[in-house]
């Protein structure tokens, strides 16, 4: 299974909508996650959903600096790459 950025963004949108139980305005990779009303708790849920979906484990210390959608997706990509190495 290969996953590109567009697919990841779509997945992010779907999962975030489910977790926050609301529709988001259009956002980009540069959007700050907390601006979407996703607090740190919901962010962890989102990470968990990604981990289950891709069957990966993301180390906690990589979660510390995440602010934008891009930061989060980069960490997920890193986890996918590590799992396939």
């Amino acid at each position: 299974m290969t996953t590109n950025r567009t697919e990841l963004l779509t997945l992010f949108h779907k999962m975030a909508t489910e977790i926050a139980e609301k529709e988001f305005p259009p956002f980009t990779e540069q959007t700050v996650i907390s601006d979407l009303g996703i607090d740190s708790l919901a962010m962890l849920e989102l990470v968990g959903a990604m981990e289950r979906h891709f069957e990966i484990r993301i180390p906690d210390e990589q979660l510390v600096g995440i602010t934008t959608v891009n930061d989060l997706l980069a960490v997920v990509e890193k986890g996918i790459a590590a799992a396939r190495a």
């Binding site: 708790l41 962890l44 849920e45 990470v47 968990g48 959903a49 981990e51 906690d60 979660l63």
Partner: protein, 284 residues
């Protein structure tokens, strides 16, 4: 600066009689060590105290400082079982100090003192600290990266209170992995902010970094399952005394402690938290 005195009193001054109902008879409020499957909590607590005395090289006749001494279980053990010449405890809780004084243990002294203000007249041969480090840094300090300096300052102080060659028996909770689901995150938040305000559990790597340049790690053993079993036993005893607790301390206290102990059982089971025992030797 971690938990203030007021915050520590929230955690430990609910009432000595309350904690006596569900802790072991000597009132250890930290993980026991189960060496055999059928051991009681009382036996397992003695195992823990014996291991930490061994890690701290506590010898008959020596002097020991017990930092964050709780209700005095370790002080009592070192006096009665290890025959130390002097065991001194510091705690921030007045209720705990009252209980230690009530026990009238030979060769044991205690004071209500913040470790940041403790200035002993004489240096000690050995040091022990059983799960006090969780009060050193607040969640905000840990988030903003100030915790390692705070832990290192603690290790520097203990170094300055001890004689060359001293060993330090340390027990710490470990924060291993954040939960990924709402309920578990909220439960850990409740334990962190409601039961133990002002503090946060440490990560193992932070301690490894912070002991330098004062202490050398000689041994370290993790005991995640032991803490799971200990908190499970506490929860069972708490529930066994439900009627009495409701009558004397009310629904909120019972519910808070039921939730907190259930959270602990779950957190050790799911690897969110673990426990470590350390034998540290002074770098002279």
């Amino acid at each position: 600066m971690g938990s203030t005195q007021d915050q520590v009193e929230v955690s430990y001054d609910v009432g000595n009689e309350f904690f006596r109902l569900w802790l072991d008879e000597r009132m250890n409020y930290t993980s026991a060590v189960y060496l055999h499957p059928n051991e009681t909590l009382e036996q397992a607590q003695l195992n823990k105290l014996r291991i930490l005395s061994e890690y701290a090289h506590v010898q008959p006749g020596c002097s020991v400082i017990d930092i964050g001494c709780g209700w005095g279980a370790n002080l009592e053990f070192m006096s009665l079982e290890r025959k130390v010449g002097r065991a001194h405890g510091i705690t921030l809780s007045t209720e705990q100090w009252t209980e230690i004084t009530r026990r009238k243990i030979p060769n044991v002294t205690a004071e209500v003192r913040d470790y940041k203000e403790f200035k002993p007249a004489e240096k000690f041969d050995a040091a022990t600290c059983i799960c006090m480090m969780e009060h050193i840094a607040s969640p905000e300090e840990a988030r903003s990266g100030k915790h390692i300096d705070l832990y290192r300052d603690f290790f520097r102080r203990v170094h300055s209170w001890t004689k060359p060659g001293a060993y330090f028996g340390l027990q710490t909770i470990l924060r291993n992995r954040m939960p990924r689901n709402k309920k578990d995150i909220e439960d850990i938040g409740h334990a962190t902010y409601v039961i133990f305000p002002g503090g946060i559990t440490e990560r193992m790597e932070d301690i490894v970094i912070a002991v330098n340049p004062y202490w050398e790690v000689m041994e370290m053993k993790t005991r995640r399952e032991d803490y799971g079993r200990t908190t499970g036993e506490w929860l069972k005893r708490l529930r066994d005394h439900k009627t009495e607790i409701l009558a004397k301390w009310g629904q909120k206290v019972f519910d808070d402690y039921d939730r907190y102990l259930s959270t602990c059982v779950n957190a050790f089971d799911k690897h969110y938290q673990s426990l470590a025992q350390w034998s540290l030797r002074r770098i002279d």
